[in-house]
């Protein structure tokens, strides 16, 4: 369906990534946000706090990130689309409730504008070291979806997509920005509302009495109802049956947790999204995401000028990881080069999936700034030399 025009600021703008993400949320139909402002994500809540009340929505500044990360889920069960936004230290505090959202299949969006860590680290400077936390940060087995914008334009469009994926698959979706894309200002084109594809909530068509809140459809995802609509609605983080009632035994655990994992794993090829460039015939493939993919592209252009056959794969959806595609490439290329603003996170996933068929060369960076393209170039040159 098309977007609700009341939330769509159609036109050309000169915006930073944080403001653009806010506009993406409003275009997607987000009408509730909770937050505890933290650098470098503060501009998102500043803008959404000013914009939401004018379209019948609400922003609540909570006492901390733990509260913010559960407040949005309350709004979702009351029928709204909702987000919260934070950075590393707050993201850590939100982990338990992200697990609750996975267990209760609560469609909601968490934005993490990554800064240098661990702990309070580098509040005003970029990092990409929360990628594994996004995937594994809460306890227990679960799956999430994570997206990585590389520009303010994508901060807009991928926030829309984050909401769409959350609604379609009923999972918490992480928008993994970084300080650089959050604070950089570029042209952002917001299309007319009728050209923005928005996925509505999977409202049940069953009458009260017949509806079961956790009865999966053919795609393994249950339809929803909201509190107060006359349906029987029981939501708990305990292992539960299709009615939502706690059932604490192995059989119920297998049925429920297997499904919330498999609904993403078995559909990973549908959810996964990468952007590839000159992969055919490439000796070396550079895999990157977020701001690093732009810096890496400069290095790739320099490498191509030297005559090296180098392709690129940009992870637009980082989780679920594009396993099948990387596995396929591993038997064709001589090496993968993975630059990231951390000491090795997504590179571990590349290495795992490549399974020894092609070496994975990490180009680590502790964060605080972006890579020097020359350093990535050197890694590409070395990898290509090893390949010959």
């Amino acid at each position: 369906m098309a977007a609700d025009p009341s939330g769509v600021l159609t036109g050309q703008h000169y915006l930073d990534g944080n403001h653009a993400a806010c506009e993406g949320a409003l275009a997607a139909g987000c009408r509730f946000a909770s937050g505890y402002p933290i650098t470098p994500s503060t501009e998102v809540v500043e803008r959404i706090a000013a914009r939401l009340p004018r379209m019948g929505g609400m922003f609540i500044q909570m006492e901390d990130e733990i509260a913010a990360s559960i407040t949005l889920q309350g709004a979702v069960w009351a029928g709204k689309k909702a987000l919260t936004v934070t950075s590393g230290p707050g993201f850590s505090l939100m982990m338990e409730h992200i697990g609750l959202a996975a267990m209760t299949e609560c469609p909601c969006v968490y934005i993490d504008v990554q800064r240098g860590g661990p702990s309070t680290g580098l509040p005003t400077l970029p990092g990409q070291a929360d990628m594994m936390q996004a995937r594994w940060g809460s306890h227990g087995d679960y799956e999430i979806i994570a997206l990585c914008p590389e520009s303010p334009q994508e901060c807009f469009s991928l926030t829309v997509e984050a909401f769409n994926l959350a609604e379609q698959w009923r999972v918490p979706v992480m928008l993994m920005m970084d300080e650089c894309v959050g604070h950089m200002t570029e042209r952002v084109v917001i299309p007319p509302a009728d050209q923005i594809h928005v996925v509505d909530r999977r409202w049940t068509k069953k009458p009260p009495g017949e509806f079961k809140a956790f009865e999966p459809g053919p795609d393994m995802v249950p339809d929803m109802a909201k509190a107060g609509d006359g349906h029987h609605l029981f939501v708990t983080g305990l292992t539960h049956d299709e009615r939502g009632y706690p059932v604490m035994n192995q059989k119920a655990q297998e049925k429920l947790v297997r499904r919330i994992v498999d609904k993403i794993r078995l559909n990973a090829d549908k959810i996964s999204r990468v952007e590839e460039d000159q992969i055919d015939g490439a000796e070396v493939v550079v895999i990157s995401y977020g701001i690093t993919s732009r810096v890496a592209m400069r290095a790739v252009q320099m490498a191509r000028a030297k005559g090296i056959k180098v392709g690129t794969m940009r992870l637009i959806v980082a989780w679920p990881f594009p396993e099948n595609r990387v596995r396929e490439l591993a038997s064709k290329v001589k090496a993968f080069v993975v630059p990231e603003l951390n000491y090795g996170q997504m590179s571990l996933e590349v290495e795992r999936v490549a399974a020894g068929k092609a070496p994975t060369v990490l180009v680590p960076h502790g964060g605080g700034e972006v890579h020097d393209p020359e350093v990535i170039l050197e890694a590409i040159v070395q990898a290509a030399r090893g390949a010959r």
């Binding site: 000169y14 470098p40 042209r187 732009r294 972006v370």
Partner: protein, 181 residues
């Protein structure tokens, strides 16, 4: 592929960041170019030296930061001391002439001077000095069309102040035409 790196420096409160936004917006929205703005965030950017950096290009910008600015706009002595040495060889230095006394000019740069604060005061509002500076910038660099920069000024200032700011732009632009380097 023409890439121009620009750095604006001054002290917090002079409207340095807005000057950078106007130039970036003029390029990206009204002059059919690409423009990426980055800025220094953090406590050091409030009150003391602060900077805005703009990369303008005919093609897609990959690396977002300014490394060798060919144009620098410096509006305080502190900013000159801190940043002037970064100007590219043979680049352009644009300075607020009452606030910046350059001891020496680095890297063979060409210097353009404008009394932006005084010109703003003549318009009755000292705070439009950054827009005077933007007008002067447009005039001496010819990087962007004056129409695009004027549109970006009108699009970036509070509604009730558009006329005043356009006058400030014109005043700076005129100064550039009548006072070459």
């Amino acid at each position: 592929m023409a890439v121009t790196e620009i750095k604006f420096g001054g002290f917090g409160g002079q409207g340095i960041i807005l000057a950078g936004i106007i130039v970036g917006k003029a390029a990206a929205l009204f002059d059919n170019k690409e423009a990426t703005l980055t800025q220094a965030f953090g406590p050091e950017a409030r009150g003391s030296a602060c900077s805005a950096q703009v990369v303008v290009s005919d093609d897609r910008i990959l690396y977002p930061y300014v490394t060798h600015p060919s144009i620098m706009v410096l509006m305080s002595q502190d900013a000159f001391t801190r940043y002037a040495g970064e100007v590219a060889q043979g680049g352009t230095l644009i300075i607020e002439e009452d606030l910046v006394q350059p001891a020496q000019i680095p890297n063979g740069a060409t210097v353009f001077k404008v009394p932006a604060t005084r010109l703003a005061e003549e318009l009755g509002r000292r705070m439009v000095l950054n827009i005077v500076m933007v007008g002067f910038f447009a005039s001496v660099t010819k990087l962007l069309t004056p129409e695009a920069v004027r549109k970006a000024v009108a699009d970036s200032v509070p509604r009730g102040t558009i006329d005043l700011n356009l006058k400030a732009f014109d005043k700076g632009f005129e100064w550039g035409r009548s006072h070459p380097s």
